[in-house]
Structure formats: structure tokens, C-alpha cells
Subunit: 293 residues, 2 copies
């Protein structure tokens, strides 16, 4: 039996070996390929790609068929970080301990590198020859909904509009559902689509991904208060500085922890109902609830 | 017989009626929909959408089936204008006589509006129910290649890198092929895909679009020298101010005009070889060669 930490570290390695191939074969000016690669290979947990593979595994399917979707979602995640870090957005100089994309390549190139990654993620899904055209379209459709104005971009907008205001729990939930949960949801749904899951299984996994995504964000907020600067690589308490509403601010730290536990319990409850080998996904729920960076 | 100017004005009206529908049905924060609509409805010739429909018409097919691709390419064109106008890029305050997107909505929202339009263009192609899954994938694949790092984004990068330098004709051609011709080429190829053109017809149209795209850009450079500020809505001679290499600068004004005529002649030559009703496309070639704005 493989445990989650073995799974995550081996799949991180696998994905990090495959991601650069998608960039190196592009016929494009060297500098844009460098700028795209720079952020794409800057590390991170590779949680979104690993989720695609974990769901395939839970259905007893080959993980290989999930590599393109896994790389596509990591490109979307990376593009969003590049654009978020821009001076006009969060104005961050460092990301995972390295200078942000625009600090190295300049703002104009960073904008274009993000645009290039966003566009190419759809190219990767389009080109996957070993699955049916219908399946490829389902993946593309999911990715559009998860990442565009109806998903991550919309969440980002709501987040910006909420700055400096005290949000209601509903408003905060909208932000995190769209900004975080939807793209994690793409990973899970991509695994389900590729595993040819039944419609009811897909619906259950969609609900599962909602709980996991919100839990992930609550834990992020908790870490921002409790975490150690060295471990998470950004100043502790930065949300407070940004005047952003957080779960602990609305619910107290204790209340946020209770809410986190509730979402994790619901996510695990869904897994129990499903006829899949969900051991890795259950461990993932526990990891999210207890992660320290 | 409909002439080109009737065709362009009626199709501009048609596309301008359909574009807002794609935004209004998005489930997204009102402000991002406003920002996306603002630039999408800011006018322009709607040449790229009209080209999709003109090619369908040349093959004797219904134009209606081209509406989604026509709207998708206009969204890509619009996103590229929003991002190009940003302070970090061209830093333009006006576009078609109206304040640019970031002047109205702020830089962060403009970046996100561009990201939203880019993402949604793929959603539109994915959702077109009246054509086969294979055809939708062909359209998506063409749009990725035309607009991403291998296309428009790559051309934009090459353009930025060429600023302040005197480029060779090959370098200048690379920029304009990628920055301008590829996206016009998408329109033409989309029409050909939807019309179920034969492989050799598609190849001829791809070459046709290359000549038309380069001709379009040469005429742009010529207009920059000869045009009147009021007609083109930007300061005459602005390329010179930007220290950009132009065709007239490399070839003299007379030489640029000869090159323009050469590309137009080749484009029309291709049309003559094809068994399609190419009257509108021929007129379009003449229009590009003689347009004054």
C-alpha cells in the first residue's frame, strides 16, 4: 500500500518531469518559453496535478491518461499566480522564496507568460490523442468553468472587491469556492471524466471537491495566524495587513477550526458512500486538516 | 449580389447583437461582466468575425454555424487589446476614442477581464452543439495555435523585443505573421473547417491568410505615415515615436507599397485557383490594399 506522502512526492516528481516537455516543444520566442518555464518549474506541492492522478487511481484506472489534464491544471494555477503577483494585483516580489515572474522578466513579459500558459493549457487538453473527442471536450468545458469568469477569475474579482470590507460568511464562501475550490474541483472532475465515472459519482465528487476546497482555504487562514513564517514562506499575518476577511476573523479561531472539521467530515462521508478505493483521498482530507504549510 | 461593404456592415451588426449574449449569461460578479462587455462592445470593424462568415459563404454554407467561432475570435482580439493597452505594455489611455479598459476599471480588473475573455472564447467553441466533437476540437486547436505563444502572444513578445532596434525584414515578418496574420488566419481556417473544406483547400486558405495578414500590416504601417489622425484615431507617426521598425522604414514607402501589392496579388491568385465563390474575399483583398483607416 502506498501512503499519501509517498504518492504526493512521487507524483510531484513525475509531473515536474513532464511539465517542461510541454513548453520545450513550443515554437515560440525563447524568452517567452523561459518566462513560462520559470514559474512552471518553481516548485510547489503539485497538489492539483496529484489530485487528477489520485482520482484515477481510486477508480482503479491507469494514471498515465491523466498526465495531460494534470499538466494543464498546473499551467492554469501557475498563470493565476503570475498574474496575481503583478504590481497591479498583489504586488508580490517573492513566490516560494524566488523572485516573482515580473521581477525577473518584467511586467509585460509576465502578463504574456500568464496569457501563454492559460492558452496552452487548452492546447494540451485538445491534443490528447488517447481519449475520445467527447472526453477531451468535457475536460475543456470543465476547465473553462473552473478557471474563467464563472470560476477562479470570478473568485479573484470578488476577492478584490471585498478588500477593506468586512464580508459576510456567504460572501467569503463565494470567494473561496470560486478562487480555490473550483480549480481543485477541476482536478477531481478530470480524474472522474477520464475514469468514466457514472453521473452520480461525478456529482458526489463535485460536492467532495467543494468541501475539500473550502477546508483548504480555512486551513490557509488558520495557518496565516498560527503558521511559522519560515514554513509557509510568506509573512505570518499578511491577510490582516491586506485587510482581508478571513474565517477566523468571522468565526473566531475556534469557530474556524470547527468549520474546517465539519467540511472534512462531509468530504470523508462522501468517500465512504462511494464504491472506489478512496484511501489516498481520505488521507488527503486528513492532510488538509492538519497541514502546517 | 451583395458587395463587401454591405456584407461588412450587416455582419458587424449581427456580431454586435450576438456578442453581449455570451457575456450576459455568465454567472459571474457584475463588475467583471461589465469590464468584459465594455471592451467587447467598444466597436471596431469586426473584420475577424466577418472573415469567418465570408469564408462559409464562399463555400455556399450557412453563416449561422460560424457565429460561435466569429464571437470567439473577437473575444481573443479584444482580450489582446485590453492587455496590450496596459501601462506595463503600450500604456494607452484611449482605444477607438474611448478610455481604455484599465482607465475605467483599473489595472487589476483589466488584467482579469482579459483573462476572462481569453478563457471564455474556448468555452464558446466547446459549447457549440450543432457541430461534431471533432470539428469543435479542430477549432479549439486552431485558436490555441493562432493566439498563444506559437501565435499572437509570441508575436507580441517578438514585437516588444524588437523595440528600439532596427529589425531585418525576416524579423519584422515574424512579428507580423504571428501578431496579426495568425489570428486573421484563425478566422479563415474556422470558416474552412466549418465548411468542411478539403485538406488542399485548407492549405491554400492558410497561405491566403498569411498574405492577407502581412498585407494588412504593411498597409497599417503605410497609414501610419500617410493617414490622417482623425480617421485612424491615433496620432499619425506613432510608430516612429515608439522606435518600431516598419515596412516603409526598411523598404521605403514606395517599396512597402510594392510589397503590399505583391502580397495582395498572391492572395488573389490563390482565390482564382479555388473552386469557391470568392467575390467577397477578392473585394476584401482590394479593401485591405486601399483602406484609409
Amino acid at each position: 500500500m502506498m501512503n499519501l506522502s509517498q504518492f504526493l512526492s512521487s507524483r510531484k516528481e513525475l509531473i515536474e518531469a513532464r511539465l517542461p516537455e510541454y513548453i520545450s516543444r513550443l515554437q515560440a520566442p525563447a524568452v517567452i518559453k523561459e518566462a513560462m518555464s520559470y514559474s512552471l518549474t518553481a516548485g510547489g506541492k503539485r497538489l492539483r496535478p496529484a489530485l487528477v492522478l489520485a482520482v484515477l487511481r481510486a477508480f482503479g484506472k491507469e494514471e498515465e491518461t491523466g498526465i495531460p489534464a494534470a499538466c494543464a491544471v498546473e499551467m492554469i494555477h501557475t498563470y493565476s499566480l503570475i498574474h496575481d503577483d503583478l504590481p497591479a494585483m498583489d504586488n508580490d516580489d517573492l513566490r516560494r522564496g524566488k523572485p516573482t515572474n515580473h521581477k525577473v522578466f518584467g511586467e509585460a513579459m509576465a502578463i504574456l507568460a500568464g496569457d501563454g500558459l492559460l492558452t496552452h493549457s487548452f492546447g494540451i487538453l485538445t491534443d490528447q490523442q488517447d481519449i475520445s473527442a467527447e472526453m477531451r471536450l468535457s475536460l475543456i468545458s470543465e476547465l473553462v468553468r473552473a478557471s474563467g469568469a464563472e470560476g477562479m477569475v470570478g473568485g479573484q474579482v470578488a476577492d478584490m472587491q471585498g478588500e477593506g470590507k468586512t464580508l459576510s460568511l456567504t460572501e467569503l464562501e463565494y470567494i473561496h469556492e470560486h478562487k480555490t475550490a473550483k480549480l481543485l474541483g477541476f482536478s477531481i472532475m478530470a480524474g472522474a471524466i477520464l475514469a468514466e465515472a457514472e453521473a452520480d459519482e461525478k456529482e458526489m465528487l463535485r460536492t467532495f471537491s467543494y468541501h475539500v476546497g473550502i477546508a483548504f482555504q480555512i486551513q490557509d487562514d488558520i495557518l496565516d495566524i498560527e503558521g511559522q513564517q519560515a514554513k509557509i514562506g510568506k509573512p505570518v499575518g499578511s491577510d490582516e495587513g491586506n485587510q482581508k476577511t478571513t474565517y477566523p476573523a468571522l468565526l473566531t479561531l475556534e469557530g474556524a477550526k470547527e468549520k474546517l472539521a465539519g467540511h472534512i467530515a462531509q468530504a470523508k462521508g462522501i468517500l465512504l458512500e462511494m464504491k472506489i478505493d478512496s484511501s489516498l483521498l481520505e488521507e488527503l482530507c486528513d492532510l488538509i486538516a492538519s497541514r502546517d504549510h
